[in-house]
Amino acid sequence: MLSIKNLNVKLEEEDKQILKGVNLEVEAGKVHAIMGPNGSGKSTLSYVLSGKDGYEVTEGSATLEGEDLLDMEPEERAAAGLFLAFQYPVEIPGVGNMTFLRTAVNAQRKARGEEEMSAAEFLKVVRAKAKDLKIDADMLKRPVNMGFSGGEKKRNEILQMAMLEPKMCILDETDSGLDVDAMKLVAEGVNALRSEGRGFLVITHYQRLLDHIKPDVVHIMADGRIVKTGGPELALEVENNGYADILAEVA
């Protein structure tokens, strides 16, 4: 599904290397988690994959089902099936949440040469999915993320993911700023989307999200590289011993 080979990335503005040869394969139907200390390059990886400005790929490749992601505009990556749940979802005054969602859904469909969703059909589907995530009609009507609590913003991200039905989902610290109940709700939303044809890359600092979204594979990232890969037990090891032991071991 997602194939990253020897990815080297530096900041455009300053000569600072952030990713130093990342290799990662996420298979369809699998959930991979990336854990790592602050500044290890986890968020950069998610931004580079989704096409944010400000980064320069100096070496390596990233493909989605064989298509070169790095050569595409952000909207083309989305239409190809890539989705990033933002760590900090952006507030957009004056743009209604529903308008935004419908524009996004139909823009992707159009880009793929599919038929656009009618207003009535869209409304029906979005209401059902919003209900599962406990997103009320008022939140749908409000401008995108305006006045949403931290938990509401993250649930709104998952609603977008559910509506867009991507092939490859990247969750960037979706647990940050969430209390236990909100995290459960978000995890349920994610788990409902797990399927054979869909891959997940869950980026997190902490093991607790992984109690709710059970990963198949766990990677530890440090200083721009994946330094260790293992099963779910690796996340528990981090939880119990911190990163220091693992980093010392691989150093």
Binding site: K52, E75, A78, A79, I92, P93, G94, V95
Partner: protein, 427 residues
């Protein structure tokens, strides 16, 4: 002090080219008075402080610079709204295209054909324009009072059932139109006036609005999209006790637009709101010049202006709140903001407060910024193409000004039109 010779020459040339209509009627005295005022002031030139950011040359030269008529197939604005239509083509009244001018609670007449000597408009025509000449000269408005060839005189005596819709069509590349409207609202009356259309190659328009106690006046205007048209418009409004004035203007395209609004709040507990949204591209210069005077107690005024500029377009805002001595409990608010879509575009703002009362709350702000890159990336990451995403953020920026319109129907009409205009430019 007499104006400099050069200024006088151009003023006299303009007066010669646009003589006072040969009226014997009630407006003759006001026209003569305005002509004398114009001669004393002279037409503006670029040395005038009030025209520091906008070159008046093309508005003051004797002949209008030709402007191509924009042909398009879009549905006329306000089409779905029940209204009384009054149509002017290149500044000339079109009886065929206009509705019958009778309507409950309102008397409507044309300036050009109202000749009774005891006309109510005698007390209004040129009166608010004249008082609006202090403390700042507005010579183009005096020129208009002197030489306006037509306009509507609207006297509202009660509640109105539908808006009066002034439609300005542009058919001739060389038209030079002068229209002057007078609107008088009796105590407790209400009226909504809609205006739309490019009007002429060059359009000089004055609207004087006298709002009596407890009356309310709503105004929604969309200036035509013809790229080369030029316009200098003035609104002069006087507000009585507990009266309300609300005006919104949408401007998309046009080579040069100067919209002045001079609002005098003379009665207690009154409120005046004025807002504008504009989208400018390339050879586009748009100037909002607003002067609100608070001369009564416990009144509120609000100015909200938003401009989106690209490809070297220029936006200007000169907004002033003057709070006179004794105008206590005044609540004055003013915001002007621009969204600059490239480095070549510019926004020039001159916000001013002048306050002579000690118990008031007045605030003003002005900002210029680029598109929010984080928001743009967020939209694109969801699959929205860059052009559409930019338009969504542009609309989002302008929505705050459009939101100032009271009527939901008119608000939606304005937003829908803005959206389709932006989409057309993209296509």
């Amino acid at each position: 002090m007499a104006a400099p010779a050069e200024k006088m020459n151009s003023t006299e040339a303009m007066i010669a080219a646009h003589p006072m209509p040969a009226t014997k009627g009630w407006s003759k005295a006001a026209r003569g008075d305005a002509l004398a005022r114009l001669r004393a002031m002279g037409l503006p030139d670029r040395r005038d402080e009030y025209w520091k950011y906008t070159r008046p040359d093309s508005l003051t030269q004797t002949d209008a610079i030709p402007a191509a008529v924009l042909h398009n197939d879009e549905a006329p604005l306000f089409d779905g709204i029940e209204r009384l239509k009054i149509v002017f083509v290149d500044g000339v009244f079109d009886a065929e295209a206009s509705d019958d001018l009778s309507m409950e609670g309102v008397s409507i007449e044309r300036l050009a054909t109202s000749d009774s000597d005891l006309h109510w408009a005698r007390d209004l025509y040129g009166t608010l324009e004249k008082s609006g000449q202090t403390p700042v000269d507005r010579p183009l408005a005096a020129l208009n009072t002197a030489c306006a060839t037509d306009g509507v005189l609207i006297h509202v005596t009660g509640k109105t059932s539908k808006p009066v819709s002034l439609i300005y069509r542009h058919m001739s590349d060389t038209s030079d139109a002068f229209l002057h409207h007078c609107i008088k609202l009796d105590a407790g009356a209400d009226l909504t006036v809609l205006e739309n259309g490019p009007a002429a190659a060059r359009f000089n328009k004055v609207m004087e609005i006298d709002i009596a106690d407890g009356a309310s006046f709503h105004h929604v205007r969309a200036q035509g999209r013809d790229h080369e048209r030029r316009a200098a418009t003035h609104i002069f409004a006087r507000l009585g006790t507990e009266s309300q004035f609300k005006s919104f203007t949408l401007t998309v395209n046009g080579q040069l637009t100067r919209n002045e609004a001079v609002i005098e709040i003379t009665g207690d507990n009154a409120s005046a709101h004025i807002a504008g949204a504009c989208v400018g591209d390339g050879e586009f210069h748009h100037d909002d010049t607003v002067f609100i005077t608070h001369d009564a107690v416990n009144c509120e005024s609000r100015q909200v202006f938003k401009k989106v500029l690209r490809n070297g377009a220029t936006g200007v805002f000169q907004g002033k709140i003057l709070v006179k001595e004794g105008a206590q409990k005044t609540d004055g608010y003013q915001i002007s903001q621009s969204l600059l879509l490239d480095d070549g575009s510019q926004f020039l703002a001159k916000p001013e407060l002048e306050i002579y009362a000690d118990d008031v709350a007045c605030s003003h702000g002005s900002t210029s910024g680029a598109i929010d890159e984080d928001a743009l990336f967020y939209l694109r990451a969801r699959g929205v193409p860059k052009g559409v995403a930019t338009d969504m953020l542009t609309l989002s920026f302008l929505a705050e000004a459009v939101d100032e319109i009271d009527s939901e129907t008119l608000k939606e009409e304005m937003m829908a039109r803005l959206e389709s205009w932006l989409a057309r430019r993209r296509g």
